[in-house]
Amino acid sequence: MERLHVELPGLTMKNPIMPASGCFGFGGEYQAFYDLAELGAVAIKATTPEPRFGNPTPRVAETKAGMLNAIGLQNPGLAGVIAKELPRFDRIDVPILANIAGSTMDDYIKVADQLSKQRNVSALELNISCPNVKEGGIAFGTIPETAAQLTKEVKAVSSVPVYVKLSPNVADIVTMAQAVEAAGADGLSMINTLLGMRIDTKTRQPILSNQYGGLSGPAIKPVALRMIHQVSQQVDIPIIGMGGIQTAEDVIEFLLAGASCVAVGTANFVDPYTCPTIIADLPSWLDDMEVDSISELIGGSWKACKTHSLSR
């Protein structure tokens, strides 16, 4: 299966498929369905310094071809993750991308410092969509300078490569990507969820107790592809692509757009075997597309253009 192999900073992956953060818990639940060593990597749920319960329920709502979630970063906290969750991977041969979150710069630094030193953690994924309490709740992810500053500080303490997970709720994703690249990011994860809501016509109230939640699933795939297509042509660091991936064909589309590997989120809830099914389906896609290795497809939608116009 060498054909599926991809190599990213800190992540040596058997194949380009990982479950997305927050959609796979800390791995334990899906381990009951299949061997996690089949995966290219695993992105675990966001860790914050202290344990968090998160938002009141209802926390999820259905939308057409998508869902909203407002989990509110529920997690057992840094100490809990280190003591109880990470050891689970001791005997599983798969790289771990540890997602980190917080409400202040210090939160991120603390979690990054300690998590990056755990033997099971291969790389960090900075969730910059969280509201920055010091800045009056404006998300770190919407101001390039703030995102860059956060990246820099985290890079300074981290012992492993750092991926910055970009929020799509911005006017100019390229500026954001370039800012965190300049600040030292080793890679990008994109996209996080779009902010959305649903209203229950019976109660006349928002369905989510938090009112707003993150939109994920097939509905957002075109937005994700567009952003990856824009950004991958303007940065030199690799992109972990995500947003509505359900099938091997979706994966090919993301690679052609410019992602170097992908993460699968919501689709795990639709079918717990989504990741292994995609991995099994990829080789025949490569055959059909007449390529030897998956990495030949990365950026294929714009690299081909470039070569083409050169040869004219």
Binding site: C23, G25, A65, M67, P218, N268
Partner: protein
């Protein structure tokens, strides 16, 4: 663990009350569905516009024929679409999931009081069958909105005493399940219940320190404990302590979690 995931075939679908359907599915994963109170996480079809699965309780199982029965209310978009699935179609079913009613809490010769409200009634039927098989006496109190909503009163009556209540008094005892309990002075050694939260709250106050078990509902994502959509607080627990309804529940001892 393919044993918890498979395509089941629609054997029969029928309307049994207002907006309420009985759906019988057949397939190899049914053999694992032996615990009453567990649920199935069902895709209503293969389209991707309604993406999330619907959690529906196991209402009955025929292990010999590999058939499981669910009873559900076609209220929203998904269950309405489910109700139009014809015989022969395949449905993607995840389950059995969660922890069901603890049968071992009722001893042979004892009496179990089963209290169901509306669409909370179905899981109590499979429970009642297993209790009776074990030699436990069953008294069922089934509450519905009105006559048109009543289902399975006949089926329960073959297993023990049944009291049906309707809110508008159009069938059985007028009022809520608690009216029936008071009026008829119904008691039991163990209590099992499933129904709307207000009902479960009243029962929690009444049966707090007794052998009483309630089944909860919450909107779900994964159904298997991975997404943290379905959590609830623990009574007298730390602020961040929680239980997941999909894996720690849906059945909890009365008083364990905050309703």
């Amino acid at each position: 663990m393919r044993e918890k995931y498979g395509e089941l075939t629609v054997v029969k679908q029928s309307k049994i009350a207002k907006d309420s359907y009985k759906l019988v599915l057949k397939g190899s994963t049914v053999k694992h569905m032996s615990q009453p109170g567990q649920f199935l996480h069902v895709r209503v079809d293969q389209s991707e516009d309604l993406l999330l699965r619907r959690p529906i309780s196991i209402a009955d199982v025929d292990l010999e024929r590999n058939e499981v029965t669910m009873i559900y209310r076609a209220g929203g978009a998904g269950t309405k679409r489910l109700s139009s699935q014809p015989t022969g179609n395949q449905l993607s079913v995840l389950g059995p999931l969660g922890k069901g009613f603890p049968l071992e809490q009722a001893m042979s010769g004892e009496t179990a009081l089963l209290i169901g409200g509306g669409i909370g009634v179905p899981p109590l039927y499979y429970l009642a069958k297993q209790l009776v098989e074990k030699g436990v006496h069953v008294t069922a109190v089934l509450g519905f909105a009105s006559k048109d909503d009543v289902f399975y009163a006949e089926e329960f009556s073959q297993l023990g005493d049944v009291y049906v209540t309707t809110v508008d008094g159009s069938y059985g005892i007028h009022g809520f399940v608690t009216n029936a309990i008071d009026e008829k002075k119904l008691t039991g050694d163990v209590l099992y219940s499933c129904g709307p939260t207000p009902m479960l709250k009243v029962l929690t106050e009444r049966y707090r320190d007794q052998r009483a078990f309630i089944s909860l509902e919450e909107r779900m994502g994964c159904g298997i404990g991975a997404c943290f959509a379905c959590v609830c607080h623990v009574e007298n627990g730390a602020e961040h302590e929680y239980r997941k309804i999909c894996t720690d529940g849906p059945v909890f001892p009365v008083g364990e979690v905050v309703l």
